[in-house]
Point group: C3
Chain length 150, copies 3
Amino acid sequence: MPISSSNSNLFVVFGITVILLSLKALLLGAATAARRGKSKSFLNAEDAAWLGGAHMNPDPEAVARWGRAQRNDLENLLPFFICGLLYVLSGGQALAGYIYCGVFFCSRVLHTIAYLAARPMLRRNAYTFGFLVIIILGAHAAWLMGRLLS
Amino acid sequence: MPISSSNSNLFVVFGITVILLSLKALLLGAATAARRGKSKSFLNAEDAAWLGGAHMNPDPEAVARWGRAQRNDLENLLPFFICGLLYVLSGGQALAGYIYCGVFFCSRVLHTIAYLAARPMLRRNAYTFGFLVIIILGAHAAWLMGRLLS
Amino acid sequence: MPISSSNSNLFVVFGITVILLSLKALLLGAATAARRGKSKSFLNAEDAAWLGGAHMNPDPEAVARWGRAQRNDLENLLPFFICGLLYVLSGGQALAGYIYCGVFFCSRVLHTIAYLAARPMLRRNAYTFGFLVIIILGAHAAWLMGRLLS
């Protein structure tokens, strides 16, 4: 196994966190496409001709909201995955890692709920918690890696 | 080497799959920019002034199609890379891994062809195969990781 | 440690490069949102009602520029991270790796500066250097991995 045993629980917690958030973003993308079908409005002319509807760019509001929720997910998942993977591979402490994963996961689930329910204050707060986790996690991982330099 | 020998072929197959798909997405991005130049329409006013053309947002259809093909690539590549890397690092079976990589690679190449050729049914089917691979791969990786918990 | 000692300096240099670029993209995303507030124009109707402003899609130019700089960052960071991580995990040479990281980091910092300062030639050149690094790094990593096949 490439992961040292002292870290394997952290590796698992981190891994399951990012898998679940990946699948959430993926499902939001599929839901965005499904809502295009439901609203009979399509970004591609060939879809409108095929499925019977209007060719429209940008998406109507009810579709665009889901697309924005997905885009915000991906914009935050990539930095979290990069910083978190390096934290795990640098031998980061398990307890801090659990907290990073737990807070980030909850903040991103709340963000999606708040976005789809059009609750802007909750959405902003959830985004901010996730944002702060990435900043702290990234700084923590960089500090751990600095100690690995020989 | 950090990768255990029992996994090294899977590591290589997975690695080459995601490298090729990364470069495909990158080339689609460059092609989108090139088509802006060809259609003399630019998202930035300074580009329109520099290269002689119109300042236009959103992109005209012939440009936007390439940008959407790239965006769809990136939306799927990030979840596939996350789930696949964790599958490989968790000691996933080689044969299942080869199938995941092969089906995903083919589905994403077909998706791009179908998008650029404006063939909506092929595009939807290719997308759906890639989508299903990510869901199954993510669940498989999460299950493998659950067994690593101590 | 999962990273072999012969590679640990390269691992650190690569890791700190992608952490800094992740945080840069993240900060550009937050700055885009901040500029929506400043220009009193919002993508979501509930934000316009909450904070007092107009509901507008797409964003006005002064906001959209920051969003495009962020999007371009993410489009390039994902391929670079994938190719670079595989390069490091495949036992890539340190010196070439330092050059890849250094050139990519500088090109992406210059890209952001050029985008925000509306300097199109510098922006295009910075983008092109980063693009070429990813192509070469991806090919180099694929070649290294090919030698690992058993």
